[in-house]
């Protein structure tokens, strides 16, 4: 089975990009951007992961079946996050019985 051959130059380029982005993540970590810190860090992480998946894992050149397998892992990740968030995001909906102090409304969380 002949796989797609990727030039060493491209591999090197991606490797350097990954190193640079790691540097960027670290640098941004020292700047206080409020909630944008986490958003930028995650965006960089997704960009880096995409590079690894597309080139190092050859998903860019892969056939339908490997792509389907990979897509299913994303679906499963979505299941993990969605159902976990169904707990985390709805915890504050609970109304405590009368006379009980709610941790979530008293600001102690």
């Amino acid at each position: 089975m002949a796989g797609h051959i990727v030039s060493i130059k491209l591999y090197a380029l991606i490797f350097i990009t990954l190193l640079v982005m790691t540097g960027v993540t670290t640098a941004v970590g020292y700047v206080d951007l409020g909630r944008w810190n986490i958003i930028i860090a995650l965006a960089i992480a997704i960009f880096k992961a995409s590079l690894v998946i597309l080139f190092f894992m050859h998903m860019k050149y892969a056939g339908k079946l490997p792509r389907l397998v990979f897509a299913s892992t994303l679906l499963w990740l979505a299941i993990l996050i969605t159902l976990t968030m169904s707990d985390v995001l709805t915890r504050s909906w609970d109304h405590p019985p009368q006379g009980w102090q709610s941790l979530s409304t008293s600001g102690q969380r």
């Binding site: 079946l65 299913s72 892992t73 499963w76 299941i79 993990l80 159902l83 976990t84 169904s86 707990d87 985390v88 995001l89 709805t90 915890r91 909906w93 609970d94």
Partner: protein
Amino acid sequence: MSSLTVDEAPQAASHVHYLNVKFGVKSWLFTTDHKRIALLYLASITFFFFVGGAAAVLMRLHLLTPGGLLVEPATYNKLFTVHGILMVFFFLIPAIPAVLGNFLVPMMIGARDLAFPKLNLLSWYVYILGGLFTLYAVVAGGVDTGWTFYTPYSSTYSNSHVIAAALGIFITGFSSILTGLNFIVTIHKMRAPGLTWFRLPLFIWAIYATSIIFILGTPVLAITIVLVALERLFHIGVFDPALGGDPILFQHMFWFYSHPAVYIMILPGMGVESELITCFSRKKIFGYKFVAMSSLGIALLGFLVWGHHMFVSGQSMYAGMVFSILSYLVAVPSAVKVFNWTATLYKGSISYDAPMLYALGFIGLFTMGGVTGMFLASLGVNVHVHDTYFVIAHFHYIMVGGMVMAYLGGIHFWWPKISGRMYPQGWARFAALVIFVGFNLTFFPQYILGFLGMPRRYAVYPAEFQVLNVMSSAGASILGVGYLIPLIYFIWSMRYGPVASANPWNAKGLEWQTPSPPPTENFEEIPVVTEEAYDYPVREAQVA
């Protein structure tokens, strides 16, 4: 009526086969033959089964009296932890896939080996390495967190050997991933000519579904364990509220793998069950496609229900409602299987050979375990029986009554193929009955104990629970003897058992078309498949 055919003279099989092609320790430790690797797994899994079983026997002996008979409460905690870890990660999860799956998958699909034979051997070494870490944790002083490693106890407070045990499980997880990957590629790429997807034996469908769970679920467990270790060693706040973490997040991540892992344990058992029921009722399976698809259905739905372990954890009750409804849904594909096996028996020509006794035991015990699972999926009942012996009884009916029965049924069914020898039928039937009786005596009283409110994981209990506890302990001793009997006659049969023919049960399936034991390359010529699975001749009684 027995369908058994054996050659009379108890002499060794004369042909060259995978067992006599090479001798010596090296020929086993460096083998890439899937059949030999299956036997390596068989030996190691049996070892862990009996070590884990010994821990269970000690617990049951301890619980003979309300105040506890044998050990300190702290030691009791370590006993149930060791029992859980060894049985779940080192026996139940790998048992059928790594032993029977390894042995049978290539032969059932008409291939000469798995797609990646060296990876297959590596998976066994990885398994052993993980096992050694866990055994080290046990010998060095034990772990007391329970097999679930709940935080913040496991990450902050426990003073036992959590890291070593967790590392053992982490490592063993990779063995599962390698095995699953190997099976998926093999089933996709190496089927014999004519063997279309809907001609595959249902055991293959079950192993395929299991492999999907292996690959999609196990990495999450690995990540979770690493996070616990990081928090324990470096105090990184992931699960500890004091460090900004969320302890319930651990339970989400743990059960995201560990609930599907329940289906890793039972799905291959269901695959074995389909093989046994068709062979010993000499009938095509009822509703082949439904049984095949229900395996995939269970694999998918199994990933959507984990929150039912967390109804009283502090998880949002709205999430609880969603998980409760989804948990009920899993009953549908499981019931499809049970009804279809039962319908297969209808008007079948049933014979009660030893494997069939295990198969019939499986149907009844699995159904009881499954139906009590419905009780537990219900939010209200769950709160009442949460963390009681009701839960213990429920999952042991699935795991031991279901999975271990299927595993033993499978070993009895394919033993002639594996070893080339028959075992004593009378003893085998007797052992099946002893196990059935011992099992029910052990675990049925636990349903009642749990319903009455006896919590799990306690070394002592109120005096009014003693009668039921004594019954349970008595059952455990019978069960223990029941498991030793097959061990003895299987070892005996390897030397003294009558030589088995290629197809002693007159079963359908490619694995029976090759000599017993099979040659290293499985088939002299790759077979061409021209018929559906389980194409047993239709008898008059079935036509009406």
